[in-house]
């Protein structure tokens, strides 16, 4: 149940953030069925403190990152600097993390750390990984928490 719940929450959060802030609609495909991009990837990690604490790592292809950065800033892709692409990707990771935590920690406060660009080859050990197709590649979200994430109702009942 927690695994299915977290998968659903990540998927809903991704869809919500991409649709509202980036004007992108993702395909309603089952996560983890899409092959991940093998090269030209970038990754951003957002640590968080709360109940539970953990981190969320967003991994995506640089071409996709540049495309969504252009949508976000209203700028042509060729006019974007690598720095701007990085900043937008950090903000995307920040919003997805906040959206996920707001759905599972509605009764408690959490604190997000500043997003940081990390090595995409280093998926956190023990992470629950979800991927969603986007354009020619996929967005991958890896979440690690110090304790299992449960639906709010189940948590309040315990």
């Amino acid at each position: 149940m927690p695994e299915d719940f977290l998968q659903w929450v990540v998927h809903e959060s991704l869809a919500d953030v991409l649709e509202k802030m980036f004007f992108i609609s993702i395909l309603d495909e089952t996560p983890d069925t899409v092959p991940l991009p093998l090269q030209e990837e970038m990754a951003v990690r957002v640590g968080f403190e709360g109940k539970p604490s953990g981190s969320l790592t967003l991994q995506l292809n640089r071409v996709v990152a540049r495309s969504i950065a252009g949508d976000f800033l209203g700028v042509e892709q060729q006019e974007l600097s690598d720095s701007q692409v990085g900043e937008v990707t950090c903000e995307l990771a920040n919003m997805i993390c906040g959206s996920v935590l707001s759905r599972v920690e509605s009764a408690v406060t959490f604190r997000l750390h500043a997003p940081e660009i990390v090595n995409p080859d280093q998926t956190p050990a023990g992470a629950a990984i979800y991927s969603v197709p986007l354009g020619p590649a996929a967005i991958k979200v890896a979440m690690v928490t110090e304790a299992p994430i449960c639906p709010p109702a189940a948590e309040s009942a315990s």
Binding site: S99, L101, S106, V108, R111
Partner: protein
């Protein structure tokens, strides 16, 4: 120093907006949404955290503040406390834009003086509605 205040002035003139966020990308996005919303904006100032925002407010009057919570040096809660402690700044409508949409956080921010709250992700019309409500005039 420019000091202008009051709803009468707000209804008649273009607005001065301050965006406080440590993410340059988010500041650019909010600025873009405001410009697309039809709100008549005379000046749109930006600050990377609460401390920078207070330094800016020492020299510039603004009609509304849009602020993030998680920021380095001075976060959104500390910034709200500083605004409330200053007679001059207390009347400036301050809207929080944040990823943290937990009930506890929203209640706390309201206690600290935030007049509005927008959870990220948000639709452009959400920001427009909140600005209309707190600036006291419908947008063009």
């Amino acid at each position: 120093m420019e000091r202008r205040a009051g709803k009468e002035r707000r209804n008649a003139m273009a607005y001065r907006v301050l965006i406080v966020d440590d993410s340059p990308a988010m500041r650019a996005f909010v600025r873009r949404v405001i410009s697309l919303s039809g709100i008549d904006v005379a000046d749109c100032f930006e600050a990377g955290n609460g401390r920078e925002a207070l330094a800016l407010l020492a020299n510039q009057w603004v009609d509304v503040i849009l602020t993030d919570i998680n920021m380095p040096e001075m976060d959104g809660e500390q910034f709200l406390e500083c605004l409330q402690s200053e007679e001059l700044f207390r009347s400036i409508p301050t809207v929080v834009i944040s990823t943290d949409a937990t009930r506890h956080r929203i209640e706390r921010l309201r206690q600290l003086g935030a007049c509005g709250y927008i959870a990220k992700p948000f639709l452009p019309e959400n920001l427009r509605e909140v600005l209309e409500r707190h600036l006291g005039a419908p947008c063009a």
